[in-house]
């Protein structure tokens, strides 16, 4: 076995492994402003360039350039920056809280903050996201109460999900945030179904699906593409390509040629790639896609090119499979730093105000955490009522479950 000179299959490998010095200087990143802005009713097949390039607005010097550079007001940009900072702070605190045994698990979005926060600004009231576990930015972008998020993370007695769900698998209908599944990919086609329902209902609402690069390999990615391609409902399908699944780089998910966006293009679906660390660019393409969907011009797939700078979750140690400094070497930079630079350049922000905002935000998050901890933590007492595990599985409890609940009460 294995005695042929060159095996007729390949197992893709990332360029760098622990111990290597990562160097992405050979990676060609398109210049900011270089990709055209197509008309809303563009024929998907004409987006070939958009599915292979990267739409970018923010130049290295912080200037916003090109045809996509428009749209957000100063207030929105400032609030976006602030929300990204809040999310980053929340992440850091919750990772610490997990280490302290206050919860079992946490998933950070370090380095990817712009994606969900900029995207959400393009949606309207009544629209619905079908998020993954790494899309908390969709809530933070709407100033969802941090304390409530933490109540869920701590599985305490004020946890809106009654302790049932793994931390970060939030649900917030009023915020257009569908209950997050622990199973990868499933929600992608559900988003398509929700959008079909909006169309059937004659409303002008739209749905947004979310999936990770690694999870595009799952079957439901395909169902979503097939249904979106056939019925063309008002849905935006977001692929967050943060380069890594858990320990596997995107070459394992994608093969070593093409792009994930190109897969959608193969289905005749409009597909664009965007610099996911460029707040302005994410928002611009989101707005474009939202407008298409709103007007009934069909689905859009957005591939957000970003980098997962943290561990996959608190259960993960990325240094076991990639160079420690890889995230610094990553050519698209830090989304917070980039927006900050842009705002400073425009005279809307300064290093001082940034430092001040950072400490304010720290206080805000700490205060929320204190409040949440008063309601209890996973192992620190104050958990939701145990017998409640029988409630709300069905609207009406069937007899066999009523009997189990009675039996269980012997242990309370």
């Amino acid at each position: 076995m294995q005695d042929t000179p060159k095996p007729r299959m390949t197992v893709p490998e990332p360029q760098f492994r622990p111990g290597d010095v990562p160097d992405y200087s050979d990676v060609k990143i398109p210049e900011a402003g270089a990709v055209t802005l197509p008309p809303l009713d563009v024929a998907p097949r004409q987006l070939r360039n958009h599915a292979f390039s990267i739409i970018r607005i923010l130049r290295r010097d912080g200037e916003a350039v090109g045809p996509w550079a428009t749209m957000l007001s100063d207030e929105e940009l400032l609030s976006g920056l602030r929300q990204m900072m809040i999310l980053r702070t929340l992440d850091a605190r919750m990772i610490a809280a997990q280490r302290q045994g206050k919860t079992s698990f946490y998933v950070p979005q370090l380095g990817e903050e712009a994606v969900a926060i900029a995207f959400q600004r393009a949606l309207g009231k009544g629209d619905m996201n079908f998020p993954t576990y790494r899309n908390a930015g969709l809530l933070v972008a709407q100033d969802y109460p941090l304390e409530t998020m933490m109540n869920q993370i701590f599985s305490n007695q004020k946890d809106p999900l009654a302790g049932r769900q793994l931390p970060v698998l939030y649900s917030a209908r009023d915020y257009g945030f569908f209950t997050v599944s622990g199973n990868l990919g499933t929600q992608f086609v559900q988003a398509v179904g929700w959008a079909m329902a909006a169309a059937i209902d004659g409303s002008d609402r739209i749905a947004a699906g979310w999936i990770g690069d690694g999870s595009t390999a799952e079957s439901d990615f395909h169902s979503a593409m097939v249904f979106a391609s056939t019925y063309k409902p008002p849905v935006i399908l977001n692929i967050v390509n943060n380069q890594w699944a858990i320990s596997t780089f995107q070459g394992i998910a994608k093969g070593e040629s093409g792009t994930l966006a190109a897969r959608a293009l193969g289905f005749g679906i409009a597909a664009l790639r965007v610099d996911g660390n460029d707040f302005l660019a994410v928002h611009a393409v989101a707005k474009w896609a939202v407008e298409r969907a709103r007007q009934g011009l069909g689905p859009t797939v957005l591939e957000h090119v970003t980098y997962r700078a943290g561990g996959h979750s608190t259960s993960d140690n990325p240094e076991a499979y990639r160079p420690k400094k890889e995230s610094d070497a990553w050519p698209l930079g830090d989304p917070i730093e980039r927006l900050k630079l842009h705002l400073i350049r425009r005279g809307l922000w300064s290093e001082e105000r940034h430092a001040q905002a950072r400490s304010e935000i720290r206080d805000l998050v700490v205060a929320a955490q204190k409040a949440a901890e008063k309601n209890g933590t996973l192992l620190g007492g104050g958990a939701p009522r145990r017998r409640s595990i029988f409630d709300g599985l069905y609207e009406e409890m069937p007899l066999h479950l009523r009997r189990q609940k009675e039996a269980a009460e012997k242990w309370l």
Binding site: V189, G193, W194, D201, L399
Partner: protein, 339 residues
């Protein structure tokens, strides 16, 4: 309410039509269900009557059908989808068992999933291993699902309407061998039609057969038969042939299960046989036998017997050797009586 003679296909179709007419949220889709009206014709005419956005064809993607339906249910519609054969539900098993069943629970009621999945089930049409399966036990093990299975047109429509109006996901298994007539397992005899059968008389309008209520098809004092779907007719035939005064309970709804009716009957008769077409091991009959012996132990004069499909894939040519027909049920009844 006016009553009409209907086959089970007609009853299903009529139930869908009644609900689509009453409730604009009810949407019907699946493979070949739109223009053509379904390979078993259960959706014939619905697209023409209710429009292409209310009844339509889908790509051949069972996971897509159920996944999309979950999204629609979360939106507020009432999707009622068809899986062409129960044997083809497996690609959708993840969406059914890990998603639909848990939307309400995991979101603590923030979202719900009122969704109906219809699928023709069971054998008896020379369909071989991929057109004959009875996968009900694969649903009953999953918390958060309801599973029903009618044995006649009246129940088929009434259970379907109850399922569509149910706030939670319901699997409706339709015994395909009963679509056009009752079938007692005597495949060597001429096929029967629903015409003239009292349960082929179907009220025309809106009515329910509530989920969780079994029907006693024959009262009896000597032995209780727990069964459902096609096997109800087989059991009735076996009882007559054996001349045993058995009580035949048509469960109709597996989850929720009518424990009270079951227990009252077994406590009365002291003997119990469970019959289904699905393979024996880990079939729903195991759950029934386990429960009956748990709750009725001191009333039992014999072990709870099980008669079921053999533990092999449904063979094509040997279908009638595989099918637990009236002889095999009859033998199980005699064994239970003689024990």
């Amino acid at each position: 309410m006016a009553v009409m003679q209907m086959s089970m296909v007609e009853a299903v179709r009529n139930g869908l039509d009644v609900m689509m007419t009453r409730d604009p949220r009810v949407i019907v889709f699946g493979e070949d269900v739109g223009y053509f009206g379904g390979v078993f014709r259960c959706t014939q005419g619905l697209q023409q009557k209710h429009g292409k956005l209310r009844c339509f064809d889908t790509p051949i993607s069972e996971s897509g059908i159920v996944g999309a339906a979950i999204g629609m249910a979360a939106y507020g519609l009432r999707p009622c989808v068809e899986i062409q054969f129960a044997d083809y539900m497996y690609p959708a098993y993840d969406q059914i068992t890990q998603e639909a069943s848990r939307i309400r629970y995991r979101s603590n009621g923030d979202f719900t999933c009122p969704l109906v999945i219809r699928m023709p089930t069971g054998g008896g049409i020379f369909g071989g291993e991929t057109h004959s399966q009875s996968p009900e036990a694969l649903f009953t093990h999953v918390s958060g699902l309801k599973t029903v299975i009618p044995s006649n047109p009246q129940d088929a429509k009434g259970l379907l309407i109850a399922a569509i109006e149910d706030p939670d996901p319901v699997i409706v298994l339709e015994p395909k061998r009963l679509y056009h007539g009752p079938f007692d397992g005597h495949h060597e005899r001429e096929a029967m039609s629903w015409k003239g059968h009292p349960l082929g008389e179907v009220p025309e309008g809106h009515y329910h057969v509530p989920l969780g209520h079994a029907a006693i098809r024959r009262e009896g004092g000597d032995l209780t038969i727990l069964t459902y779907g096609t096997m109800v007719h087989v059991a009735l035939a076996a009882v007559e042939e054996q001349g045993i005064d058995a009580e035949v309970i048509d469960l109709r709804s597996l989850i929720p299960l009518d424990l009270e009716t079951i227990e009252a009957s077994v406590r009365k008769t002291g003997r119990c046989v469970v019959a289904h077409e699905a393979t024996l091991t880990s079939g729903f009959g195991a759950e029934l036998a386990a429960r009956v012996q748990e709750t009725c132990f001191y009333h039992l004069e014999a072990p709870v017997g099980r008669v079921a499909g053999w533990d092999v894939p449904y063979p094509h040519a040997q279908e009638w050797f595989y099918f637990p027909g009236p002889e095999r049920v009859g033998r199980a009844l005699r064994e239970a009586m003689e024990a």
